[in-house]
């Protein structure tokens, strides 16, 4: 599904990712953990195509194509989804508008008919149940005045509607209380499937109590310094990131 080889990325001339190698297969859930400033969010943003990141070396292959040469919208239509760490508020654009435009852009790309208003509403209502969102959120401006938890649920709702092949969740657990975390996790779990790969970018392991990953990678100083199974996350929870950083610094 996704193959990252020796990916090196600069931001404002400064090396942030210093050679990432990662292989992700369909059906797998990978967690990428690491201390602040380790490059986790940079990796998520580079995969989604955000501007301001300079790829200086390496390749990213997604479903056999060079992901890095695709515009962000083409990545989205090809099934790459980024759940934002900080979902953007867009006054004047209703949530239902964005959802409908997004769903139909993806459907069109896949050669499917665009959904009419009735079919779309039926679909969105069903998916909203997944994240326990009230219908009123459809008619509010995108993320405007939403609480932190509501914004994150809205991201998962978008993912549920777009049915991506690769979902990247950037710090989706940050700022959530335990109830919201539970709802978001249930939503993510419902989206696990053998055809879909998920990448959970997170600082804390508590999300992984609810969404149990197949693989855990630890990022420090722009490199993956350790990979393992869920046990690695628990070990980090106990010991903190200090020992990993010391190891990484020694490399």
């Amino acid at each position: 599904m996704l193959s990252i080889k020796n990916l090196k990325v600069n931001v404002d001339g400064k090396a942030i990712l210093k050679g990432i190698d990662l292989e992700i297969q369909a059906g797998e859930v990978h967690a990428i953990m690491g201390p602040n400033g380790s490059g986790k969010s940079t990796l998520a943003n580079v995969l989604a195509g955000r501007e301001g990141y300079e790829v200086v070396d390496g390749t990213v292959t997604y479903q056999g194509q060079n992901l890095l040469e695709l515009a962000p919208e083409l990545r989205a239509r090809s099934g790459v989804f980024l759940a934002f760490q900080y979902p953007v508020e867009i006054p004047g654009v209703s949530n239902v508008y964005l959802l409908k435009a997004a769903v139909n852009a993806v459907r069109k790309h896949r050669g499917l008919d665009e959904l009419d208003a009735m079919d779309f509403l039926a679909l969105v209502r069903e998916k909203m149940k997944l994240v326990k969102m009230d219908e009123q959120f459809l008619y509010r401006a995108v993320n405007e005045g939403f609480s932190g938890g509501e914004k994150k649920r809205n991201e998962i709702l978008q993912m549920a509607l777009l049915e991506p092949a690769l979902g990247i969740l950037d710090e989706t657990d940050s700022g959530l209380d335990i109830d919201a975390l539970k709802i978001v996790s249930d939503g993510v779990n419902a989206l696990r499937s053998k055809d879909r790969a998920l990448v959970l970018v997170t600082h804390y392991q508590r999300l992984l109590d609810y969404v149990v990953p197949d693989r855990v990678h630890v990022l420090a100083h722009g490199r993956i310094v350790k990979s393992g199974d869920r046990g690695l996350a628990l070990e980090l929870e106990q010991k903190g990131y200090g020992w990993i950083e010391t190891q990484a610094a020694a490399l």
């Binding site: 989604a48 955000r50 515009a71 989205a76 953007v88 006054p91 654009v93 435009a101």
Partner: protein, 447 residues
Amino acid sequence: MNAVMQAHQHYAAEFERVESVLAGAASPWLRELRRNALAVFVERGFPTARDEDWKYTRTAAIEKRAFSCVPAAAAPLNAQRLQQVLHTEFAAHRIVIVDGRYRPEWSQLDGLPAGVRVTALAAALSDESSGVRTALGKAVNIQRHPFAALNTAFIDDGVFIALQKGAVLDQPVQIVFVASAAQGGHATHPRVVVAADEHSRATLIERFVALDEAVYFTNAVTEVVLGDHASVELCRLQEESAKAFHISGVFVTQGRASRFTSHAISLGALLARDDIDVQLAAPGVECTLNGLYMAGGRQHADTHSRVDHLQPHGTSHEFYKGVLDGHGRGVFNGKVIVHPDAQKTDARQRNENLLLSDDAEADTKPELEIYADDVKCAHGATVGQLDADSVFYLRSRGMDEAAARSLLTYAFASEIIERVPVPAIRAYLQQAVLARLPGGPAIEEFL
């Protein structure tokens, strides 16, 4: 020097040519009003770069063209085109002025409620019993506004609306100024006079439209006098020819506890300058001024507002937005003067500008002069570009870049359009804004 003299001489000479055929030319009071206004204009002259109020807007192109003030000869009209631009769905009542001349065959003034009179201005000027004399020029400051002086010198046709005490106009009245191809090379000086007596209420729509891409000059003045507790809502849509020059002044005087609301949408013309000048002349007055200007290509759109708080407990809220693209330039100047007697004034002003291209420009200047001590005044002005995070967010959801940018621009403009009280006009404006955006068609289908 010579060029300036010539420009004045041109308009003075035009005045000589047409004075005797202007409406009500035989009335001494009108002759005096016109001649006095011409003298003010000739004395004052076209604005220059030294005029602070005209710092960003050059009128040399208007001077140079020496537009004819002799009414354009009536040419055959494309009736189908005209029917389209009238937008009869906007309002039940309609008064249509083509190339400066009232056209009853296109107007619809049947069924006006009791106490409401809507007539062509030329007819009212020729009829001493019309009552227009008491209203005409009362709210207009021709000393401060050279083009209002010019308009007054050439007062001829337009619209006179008189609302008697307690009269309620339950349906909006639409005034449509149409410029046909015959208007090329000509100037018109349309005048709208609204006298809204105590406790009367009305929604008025003023539109400036063109049937052709002619080069012409519209120099419009609208004056509104609101009696105590009167309420007037004015929607202005400026969609002149892309080669036209449009200068307008809206002058308002408000009585006690009256309410005036304006929505000024400026989309057309090569050069547009709109002044709105409101006198809160009695206690407890509410004034709301909203506006949207869009300028692309080489368009220039200038809005100057002036709000005088003269008496206590007045509220003024201004909210203007500009969308500038290509080499388009937007100017906003908002002057608010809180006079010594205007205690408990609440004056707010906001101006936001969106630059869509590197060559677009916005100049914004709030000017507050406060001479009372117990007042609330706030102002804010911004000039910015589309938020990159928002563009990326939309693209990451599958929307292409042009559509994402257009959607965000549309959302920006919507905040003003949503305030327009007439649903049919809101729907029309949404389309009009989308039509000006490169990704408009792509986003339209989901709205």
